[in-house]
């Protein structure tokens, strides 16, 4: 059984707790000047997304979750499940809504995503860091206004809502940082 010591704790590390796989969201070192050191962690249950707080005495070991991170290509959504493929082995995987919570609004097909597998099934799917998507709806732009720095809401072809500069128009393709949902630039890729 693989284990992690609290000194190895960092965000993203996957642990087994009460039979469920969890990912560390935050790890805080807590120690009174004269007294026991603790690692206070916030963890996300990778099966149901629930967040939990736990405190370990520093130096304790915790069972590692037997999970594997793989790169898979997104194929399509059948209305209920999202389908992915390993482009080397052609093995296909299905992810449910819980696993897609971070990624669903940023992908439309053919993107390579980092997928965490547990017992052979996708537990979580991370979108690519940057998405290149077409604007499907936004108010008419103020042509030539590149200086004032104002923004307006825009709906992307995947349904995600972001803020874009005033000069960006409907039908244009933009590059978006998926971690912050921030507009980065116009994109030449169509």
């Amino acid at each position: 059984m693989a284990t992690y010591n609290t000194s190895e704790f960092r965000s993203g590390l996957k642990l087994m707790i009460d039979g469920d796989p969890y990912a560390i969201l935050e790890n805080e070192f807590v120690k009174p000047g004269k007294g026991q050191a603790f690692n206070r962690v916030r963890l996300r249950n990778l099966k149901n997304g629930r967040v939990l707080e736990r405190t370990y005495k520093s130096g304790e070991s915790v069972e590692a979750a037997d999970v594997m991170d793989v790169k898979l290509q997104y194929l399509y959504n059948d209305g209920e499940m999202w389908h992915f493929m390993d482009t080397d082995s052609y093995d296909q995987y299905m992810a449910d809504e819980t696993a897609m919570v971070d990624a669903a609004q940023w992908i439309k097909g053919e993107e390579e995503c980092e997928v965490t597998l547990w017992n052979g099934s996708p537990l979580t799917v991370a979108p690519p860091k940057f998405a290149i998507l077409k604007i499907s709806e936004t108010d008419p732009g103020l042509r030539g206004d590149t200086a004032t720095g104002g923004t307006k809401p825009a709906k992307l072809e995947t349904g995600a809502m972001i803020k874009v500069p005033l000069f960006v128009e409907e039908g244009e393709t933009v590059r978006v940082d998926t971690r912050t949902a921030e507009y980065m630039s116009r994109s030449k890729d169509k």
Binding site: E28, F29, P32, Q36, F38
Partner: protein, 319 residues
């Protein structure tokens, strides 16, 4: 290399660091407290099982043997020896080292302000510490006994509650189930359930600790007995720790030996006891109180920074 070559703090904060040095020196000078420097290296270490000392090897000149030396986790032993030798009241601003401590409020190398006052008990030293804080622009301080702070947050008496009850409350508040002694459980409850509530515009002193947390403080034989120790919290963050200092050589030696036994039971290495301190106490330490204040954390509170490395010239990741 993880960090950048540039300072961890802004130049404005570095100037405020320099200013804090000046304020401390002025405050001490006004009270005739002598500035001293004691060694960072020592042949003996800190037996406290909750501290991990850094150590290094030094070459012995006549034999060419390498000898282990510990980097101090606090200047307290050397300063108490100096007080025992008749120095009068003393202070120092020095670097201390604690391995494995890294986080938003912890750096393995940090700066301590430590001072000792002859003829003071812990209450007199809290009074003086409050005057110091007022000079830095803080409000008047509140004071609560450990038992009052503990009872009002948890409903349990830290001196008399059954260990099982304290343990159950700790588990309910997120402590993972494992073998824990009473001291660890109290540390958990205090740091997770009580300290975060010690907020507000007034700094707070907590005093008279359970005897299992006496450290280097003397014990007063009340019913129940308490350790004459205090801690200072500003906005929920521990800033300082002080003692009405233990003067009894025999009891000090027993505490060090007990800590080494705890170390062995926990599978930790034994640490050589500071017999120079024991000898000094035998010769006689005047009645005194001492306080150790985290310079960097204090600066976090005067500058409003929320990460300790951001008040250091070069934090651990850039040194």
């Amino acid at each position: 290399m993880s960090g950048s070559w540039q300072p961890s703090a802004t130049l404005d904060i570095i100037r405020q660091r320099s200013e804090l040095h000046k304020i401390i020196r002025r405050f001490m000078e006004e009270r005739n407290i002598m500035e001293v420097e004691t060694p960072i290296l020592s042949r003996s270490g800190n037996t406290d099982p909750n501290l991990v000392s850094l150590h290094t090897q030094l070459l012995e000149f006549d034999t060419n043997n390498s000898l282990p030396f510990y980097l101090n986790t606090s200047p307290e032993f050397a300063m108490k020896r100096l007080v025992a030798s008749g120095s009068g009241s003393i202070y120092q601003i020095t670097k201390v080292f604690r391995d494995g401590e890294k986080g938003r409020y912890h750096e393995p190398e940090f700066t301590m302000i430590e001072w000792y006052r002859i003829g003071f008990d812990h209450h007199a030293l809290m009074d003086e510490s409050e005057k110091f804080l007022l000079q830095l622009g803080f409000e008047k301080c509140d004071r609560h006994t450990y038992v009052d702070a503990f009872e009002s947050s948890t409903g349990l008496n830290p001196h008399t509650a059954e260990t099982k009850k304290l343990y159950d409350m700790a588990v309910n508040n997120g402590l993972t189930q494992s073998k824990s002694n009473r001291r660890t459980i109290l540390d958990f409850l205090f740091s997770h359930c009580i300290a975060p509530g010690l907020k507000g515009k007034n700094p707070i002193f907590i005093y008279d600790f359970p005897v299992c947390q006496a450290a280097l403080a003397r014990i007063r034989n009340d019913d129940p007995p308490v350790a004459e120790r205090f801690e200072l919290f500003i906005d929920g963050l521990e800033i300082a720790n002080g003692f009405h200092e233990l003067c009894d050589a025999k009891e000090q030696l027993t505490r060090f030996q007990d800590e080494n036994i705890m170390r062995i039971n926990q599978g930790l290495v034994e640490i050589p006891i500071d017999h120079y301190l024991i000898e000094a106490l035998k010769q006689g330490l005047p009645d005194c109180a001492g306080i150790a204040m985290g310079f960097d954390r204090l600066l976090m509170k005067t500058t409003g920074m929320d990460t300790i490395s951001n008040v250091m010239v070069f934090g651990h990741d850039r040194c």
